[in-house]
């Protein structure tokens, strides 16, 4: 009974669930049970011991008898060990007699009284236990369950919730509505789904939770007497309902197994992924991609990555519902990102869906590797073409010099001219001819085609042509070598940076990759550089020798020396001078002093390259000066540029004219009016007339004339509208007519003044023209040499331009500004035609930077060019002048003007 009582009490303590309570409960049971067991064992052990019976049973009832019996027992003990005390048999007999003499009545009486007491206690305990079992039996069971829990889980499962419904709400990006699922089943839901379990408590007063064994969420009361718990699904779980007692859970038997379906990242496929594109061979890289997602795409990006940096460009933003999307992106080779890198660039497309629940929801395609053109490759190709043409010329000249037979010479001629023609017409991917080379090739083709076979002229022209081309090759290769050298210096910098990174533990892998890339391009560039004449060959030998040292150090994992060698190479290539300097001799610290040795640089034996360069410079200057003159003429002829002398001529009497006009205008009423009404037109006429008077007062002839015309238009409009609107009373028709008459008179005076100005300006422009005519003639005449350097067509164009300028000069002398302007424009067209053979400034700059790129547009059309800011500015200027000269009239006049101005912006 004691044990039972202890268990019940302990269960009630343990039910609080805290560890301390559980330990206390278990301790109580243990202590009670142990005590009972010990008492029982003790009693069993001492049952036959006379001393204990005398002491515990007899002595409380009859102390004298107990004492006497004890003495008898002691005597018996002495006789068994010491014969002097007597016979043991007698002593034993004495003991028997003594024990028999103990009175039993008192003892029995006392025993009965104790038994009654104990029976009462047991009954009392039984009653109490029964009452507890009846009143809090479940709590006792729960307590026992909690007390026996292992790792926070009770061994016996219990019913806690009568589940009335389970629902699942998938994440928003999936656009799936909430749906019910069966409790106790095995279902699959998207990651991010909220699972809600709803039900009625089976036993009140217990905290309920929904748990997966690791985490738990509490059930909360709803308004309808139920409880509900929401579970955010992040991984596959087995959800259970449990009652929580402190830190211990007593689970419910049935569970629901929910598999979490992860949201797949978008699948992106890039056409030709994994391949390598050599940028030098294409002008544009087409990136065709297709992205797909199981629920919907939100964004598609293009990612460009080099060893050093990454750039992300958004290609498309979507609504998050579209499940697949295809697209294309054209990456130009002159894209700023690609233009700045010298190492391979990786490109891929990435797409993400609308799922914000996970950190990285980007789907990626494979990489496409973009290999920048090997530095020097275009230049090497270009020089190679020139070398081929040159070698044909040399062979032809050699045959001519050695007086080979006519058939051989004819064949040489055909081969050489064919090579020349092909070099001019061939379409090249990576480069185009610099202006001077283009001019020379044209001139060579022209001259060599014209010379008669076998004549003395053939030899001299051929010789001149060969040496001229030789000098141009020398010039071009030297210039290209310098540009390529600087580009290679950047690659050497990459090697140095890579080595620095590789020597650090953190960036070793990146540094190695950078080294690999740079050391792949650098030797190629060095080999290309080696084809670019003496300077290129010289610098290439430096590249080759330094690369040997770099590889040696790298093989020994000595990145410090890799870096140092690369830094040396970079510094050397940034100073692309011949190894032995430009001094022609080794003059100092040599054995033989001056006259010994010579630099690797070879002097040109023809000044053709310098002549062409000078001609082009002069042409450019001439063209710019002529354009300035033309624009001046255009301004003056169109009377947009008032002249001080004209102002002086207008100064007398203009105040009176202005006062007359002002009086006429001020006679009109100044009333507020609705737009587009007769009254508003009248107001406009008044204001324009007053403005014209002001301009007359200030001697702004052109402006005054324009305003007078505008005022007349407004007067006519006001009269017309007044007739339509029948609002005669508000319109001062008489005043309007008087004003119109005055305006006509003023317009006549102003037109005369403008004409005087034009003539005066024409006279001044005529004074300037002869200088330009002379310059063009002189240039054409100077280049009229019988050599093969300047194309005949260019000379003809120059002479024709000079002729047109002569005509323009004559026209100006005859005060015919329009004719002069026409002739000037034709001369300018010819000069522009000559200049059109030059590459645009951008292309020229790219070329100078060693980045010969294919041309994408031509400036030769008559439509406003988009790529030439100067031409666009000229176009705008001309249209504006036209608009200022010929004011659009009529109802749509202002609209036309606005449109034209918008167009020009």
């Amino acid at each position: 009974v004691g044990g039972l009582t202890a268990v019940i009490g302990s269960a009630l303590i343990a039910r609080t669930g805290t560890p301390a309570a559980r330990f206390a409960a278990l301790g109580l049971v243990l202590v009670v049970m142990s005590w009972l067991a010990l008492a029982h064992a003790r009693r069993a052990r001492q049952r036959n011991r006379l001393e204990r019976v005398l002491l515990q049973i007899v002595k409380p009832s009859d102390p004298v008898a107990a004492e006497r019996s004890a003495r008898a027992l002691r005597l018996l003990a002495h006789t068994e060990t010491d014969a002097h005390y007597g016979s043991p048999e007698l002593a034993r007999q004495f003991v028997d007699e003594t024990l028999k003499s103990i009175p039993l009545t008192a003892i029995e009486k006392r025993a009965r009284r104790f038994a009654w007491l104990m029976d009462g206690l047991v009954v009392l305990a039984l009653v109490a236990s029964f009452a507890t079992a009846v009143g809090a039996g479940r709590s006792v069971v729960e307590g026992v369950d909690v007390a026996l829990a292992y790792r926070g889980r009770a061994p016996v499962k219990m019913l806690w919730l009568d589940v009335t419904g389970v629902s699942a709400q998938p994440p928003g990006y999936s656009r799936i509505t909430e749906h019910s699922i069966l409790f106790g089943s095995h279902v699959s839901e998207l990651v991010g789904t909220t699972v809600s379990v709803r039900g009625v408590r089976a036993r009140p007063g217990v905290d309920l939770v929904l748990t997966d064994g690791q985490h738990a969420t509490e059930f909360v009361e709803t308004g309808d007497g139920e409880v509900v718990a929401h579970w955010a699904l992040l991984r596959s779980v087995q959800l259970k309902i449990a009652g929580r007692f402190g830190g211990t859970l007593i689970e419910q038997e049935d569970t629901i197994l929910v598999d979490a379906e992860p949201d797949e990242t978008p699948e992106v496929v890039l056409e030709n992924e994994g391949q390598t594109v050599r940028l030098g061979r294409v002008s544009r890289v087409e990136l065709n991609y297709h992205a797909r997602d199981d629920y919907g795409l939100r964004q598609i990006d293009l990612v460009l990555r080099t060893t050093e940096r990454e750039e992300r460009r958004t290609l498309m933003r979507l609504d998050g519902q579209q499940r697949q999307q295809s697209g294309a992106y054209g990456l130009n080779v002159d894209d700023p990102f690609l233009r700045e890198v010298h190492l391979p660039t990786l490109v891929r497309v990435e797409a993400r869906d609308d799922n914000n629940l996970i950190a990285n929801n980007w789907g990626i395609s494979g990489w496409i590797k973009l290999e920048p053109p090997t530095p020097g490759e275009p230049e090497a190709e270009r020089i190679e073409v020139l070398h081929q043409v040159h070698s044909k010329l040399v062979t032809w000249l050699a045959d001519r010099v050695t007086s080979s037979n006519g058939a051989d010479l004819a064949r040489d001629r055909e081969v050489a001219l064919g090579a020349l023609a092909q070099s001019q017409t061939e379409e090249h991917e990576l480069w185009r001819w610099p202006t001077q080379v283009g001019l020379l090739l044209g001139a060579l083709n022209e001259k060599l085609t014209q010379i008669s076979a076998g004549g003395e002229q053939e030899l001299s022209v051929l010789q001149e042509a060969t040496l001229a081309l030789d000098s141009v090759i020398l010039e071009l290769s030297q210039r290209d070598a310098r540009n390529v050298s600087r580009t290679l210096a950047s690659l050497a910098d990459e090697v140095a940076l890579g080595a620095r990174q590789a020597s650090s533990t953190e960036f070793q892998e990146r540094g190695e990759r950078r080294l690999d890339d740079a050391l792949l391009s650098l030797p190629r560039g060095g080999r290309a550089l080696g084809t670019l004449g003496d300077l290129g060959s010289d610098l290439a030998s430096v590249v080759r020798a330094t690369l040997v040292r770099i590889e040696r150090a790298r093989a020994a994992h000595d990145y410090t020396h890799v870096q140092l060698a690369a830094e040396y190479l970079s510094a050397r290539l940034r100073r692309p001078e011949p190894s032995a300097g430009s001094a022609p001799t080794g003059g100092v610290e040599t054995g033989a002093g001056r006259g010994q040795g010579s630099s690797r640089q070879r002097a040109a034996s023809s000044n053709a390259a310098q002549r062409i360069e000078r001609l082009l410079m002069e042409l450019l200057q001439l063209r710019q000066e002529h354009r300035s003159g033309l624009e001046l003429l255009e301004r003056t002829v169109s009377a947009s540029g008032p002249d001080t002398s004209a102002k002086d001529a207008m100064s007398s009497g203009d105040s009176e004219e202005a006062a007359r006009l002002r009086r006429a205008a001020e006679s009109l009423p100044y009333l507020g009016a609705e737009p587009d009404s007769a009254l508003s037109s009248q107001v406009v006429a008044r204001e324009q007339a007053l403005g014209a008077a002001e301009s007359i007062q200030r001697n702004r002839t052109g402006d005054a004339l324009e305003r007078v015309r505008a005022a007349r238009d407004a007067v006519a409009e006001a009269l017309l509208r007044s007739r339509r609107e029948h609002r005669v009373t508000e319109i001062d028709q008489k005043g309007l007519r008087l004003l119109d008459e005055e305006l006509i008179r003023q317009a006549r005076i102003l037109e005369q003044a403008v004409d005087r100005e034009r003539k005066e300006t024409g006279r001044r422009a005529a004074d300037q023209l002869p200088e330009q005519v002379g310059a063009e003639r002189q240039l054409a005449k100077r280049e009229r040499r019988d050599d093969a350097v300047i194309p005949e067509g260019l000379r003809r164009d120059l002479e024709h331009a000079a002729g047109f300028m002569d005509l323009a000069s004559d026209a100006l002398e005859n005060k015919d500004g329009t004719q002069a302007l026409e002739q000037e424009r034709r001369a300018q067209e010819l000069l522009d035609h000559v200049d059109a053979q030059r590459p645009s400034r951008t292309a020229e700059r790219d070329k100078e930077n060693g980045q010969a790129k294919p041309s994408t547009s031509s400036n030769q059309g008559t439509v406003t060019p988009t790529g030439d800011p100067e031409a666009a500015a000229r176009f705008r200027s001309r249209v504006q002048q036209g608009l200022s000269t010929q004011t659009p009239t009529g109802e749509l006049g202002s609209a036309i003007r606005r449109y034209a101005e918008g167009l020009l912006r």
Binding site: A380, V394, T395, L397, A398, V401, T402, Q463, T466, D470, R527, A528, G530, T531, D534, S537, D538, A540, S541, V542, R544, A545, V548, R549, R552, D558, H561, V562, L564, A565, E567, Y568, R572, R575, E577, P578, S579, A580, G581, A583, P584, T585, G586, G587, V588, E589, T590, G591, A592, G593, R594, G595, Q596, G597, S598, S599, R600, R602, A603, S605
Partner: protein, 533 residues
């Protein structure tokens, strides 16, 4: 008691003090002449006392690098001066990495240490991971910036050893002085290793510099036709040995004069030795008022404004010393060097006067007096040829080169035929000679190649072609001499290395298996097909 220093027993005190002074003097002398490393540990303190910066610097300048190292070990390692000296010593040992590491970043340094740091940094970059060839038996060390030069490294070593032995004998210094030679690819590296401004190197066409105990030499590969590198090497070795002999106290004029005198004296005479005549150059410059003068030499001849001034300066110092040597002999020069070492560079005049009996001014008067001993007309600077003729020759030369490049030797002969007999342009004769050799006409080739005296400049290619022509005529011994001379100009050039032939263009060389020829042919082939992988 009154104390008397010179009292009745003052003689005893005097004797005692004298004995003490004598003992101290003897100890100091003994310590001074004793190698510090041999000192027992307890004598280190006294050794450190003698290891002062001047003494260490003097050891370094005298190229006694081991001695300097020993002294440095006794010097206070924490002092700034010790750092500077250790870096300097590392540079003299050509250990640029160590010098760079010792000096650290430039920003912390000032003055000479900053200059040392700049040189160390640039040197470490330029020669990073360069290969080294050593000949311990002959105490020679050669570092190659371009591995392609390794093939003729033995030639460099032999030349250095021969020149050192001869010059050391002439100057009275040890013939075993270790030599460190750096062979570099370009002026930029030459400048980096020596601290010579690159603009100065390019302006004056400097090809070698002796500084920091090393000879830095531009590879003949840098020049199209090479240059007389053997004489240049001997010239620079002379500088090093004069520096060692005088503890770097010799004035610049004496340095350059001795180097100029000895640069080709170490070997047998060759064509174009003595061309141009240094005496004539000096005389003409003096009479035309273009004399540079000793006092205007500056820090280096390489820093003069142009090659012409450099040439005049060389001629003047050479001719001046020539007068001294003719009258006093080489023994006087050896004595002079010793005097300068002991007295210092600023007392060179005193040294010269004590050795020869005349001061520099007196010697200068005597030297200039020689200008008028043989009255000759002042020669105007020789024009190679009239401008028009030069232009014509230039065009012919280029055409001949172009024909040669496409193997049209008949056209080469044709285009050179009118001028070959009278031209002094070596390249033109080379082309004409090669065309005839290709045709198999060695006698004609020998004729158009002409004699050395008919050339405006000596070239390895000309010597090689002449050797080939002589060999084809059966005069093999003469041919071998020519080929050896040719190597003294441009050993890396294919025609020189292959004894007048061009195997890369299909010509069968006599020595195709030789390392020099093989390397030169490979190099020529890769140059003609640079884009091949």
């Amino acid at each position: 008691m009154k104390y008397h220093l010179f009292g009745s027993r003052s003689w005893l005190r005097v004797v005692f003090l004298a004995a003490l002074g004598l003992a101290l003097f003897a100890s100091a002398t003994w310590l001074l002449h004793r190698q510090p490393l041999q000192l027992p540990a307890r004598s280190r303190i006294s050794a450190a006392f003698f290891a002062n910066p001047e003494r260490i610097r003097s050891r370094i300048d005298s190229l006694d690098l081991e001695g300097a190292q020993d002294l440095l070990q006794q010097f206070r390692p924490e002092s700034i001066e010790a750092t500077r000296l250790r870096a300097r010593l590392a540079l003299y040992r050509a250990d640029c990495d160590e010098a760079r590491a010792i000096l650290g970043p430039d920003s912390n340094l000032t003055g000479s240490a900053r200059e040392l740091s700049t040189v160390a940094e640039a040197c470490a970059r330029s020669m990073s991971a360069a290969s080294v060839v050593t000949d311990r038996a002959r105490s020679l060390w050669l570092r190659l910036q371009d591995d392609a030069d390794a093939v003729w490294a033995p030639l460099v070593m032999d030349t250095a050893a021969q020149a050192r032995a001869f010059v050391a004998g002439k100057l009275g210094v040890s013939p075993d002085t270790p030599l460190r030679i750096e062979l570099v690819m370009d002026h930029a590296s030459l400048s980096a290793l020596t601290g010579l401004p690159i603009e100065a190197a390019e302006t004056t066409g400097t090809v070698a510099v002796a500084r920091f105990g090393r000879v830095t030499l531009l590879s003949p590969r840098s020049f199209k036709q090479g240059y007389p590198w053997q004489d240049t090497l001997a010239h620079e070795i002379t500088h090093l040995l004069v520096t060692a002999a005088t503890s770097d106290n010799a004035p610049l004029w004496l340095q350059e004069a001795l180097a100029k005198h000895l640069e080709n004296a170490w070997r047998a005479p060759r064509p174009h030795d003595g061309v141009p005549d240094q005496h004539e150059i000096a005389r003409t410059a003096w009479l035309q008022g273009k004399s540079v003068g000793f006092e205007r030499l500056g820090a280096s001849i390489a820093l003069l404004p142009n090659p012409e001034a450099a040439g005049i300066a060389y001629a003047e110092v050479y001719d001046f010393l020539d007068v001294v040597i003719r009258e006093c002999g080489w023994n006087a020069i050896r004595l002079l060097l010793r005097e300068i070492r002991d007295l210092g560079g600023e007392r060179t005049d005193s040294a010269l006067q004590s050795v020869t009996g005349y001061s520099i001014q007196e010697w200068t008067r005597r030297w200039r007096h020689k200008f008028f001993e043989h009255e000759r007309a002042v020669q105007a600077p020789r024009e190679e040829m009239a401008t028009a003729q030069y232009l014509d020759t230039s065009r012919r030369l280029r055409l001949a080169e172009l024909f040669d490049s496409v193997s049209r030797y008949d056209a080469v002969e044709e285009v050179t035929s009118g001028v070959i007999e009278r031209t002094r342009v070596t390249e033109l004769r080379n082309l004409a000679g090669h065309a005839r050799l290709h045709r198999g006409s060695a006698p004609e080739a020998l004729g158009v190649l002409g004699e050395a005296s008919a050339l405006n400049s000596m070239q390895g290619e000309w010597l090689a072609l002449r050797g080939r022509a002589l060999a084809e005529l059966g005069r093999v011994a003469e041919a071998k001499v020519h080929w050896n001379w040719a190597l003294a100009y441009s050993p890396s050039e294919e025609r020189v290395a292959c004894e007048g032939y061009l195997p890369s263009r299909g010509e069968a060389a006599n020595n195709p298996g030789s390392a020099l020829c093989s390397a030169a042919t490979t190099s020529a082939r890769s140059a003609s097909e640079p884009l091949a992988e």
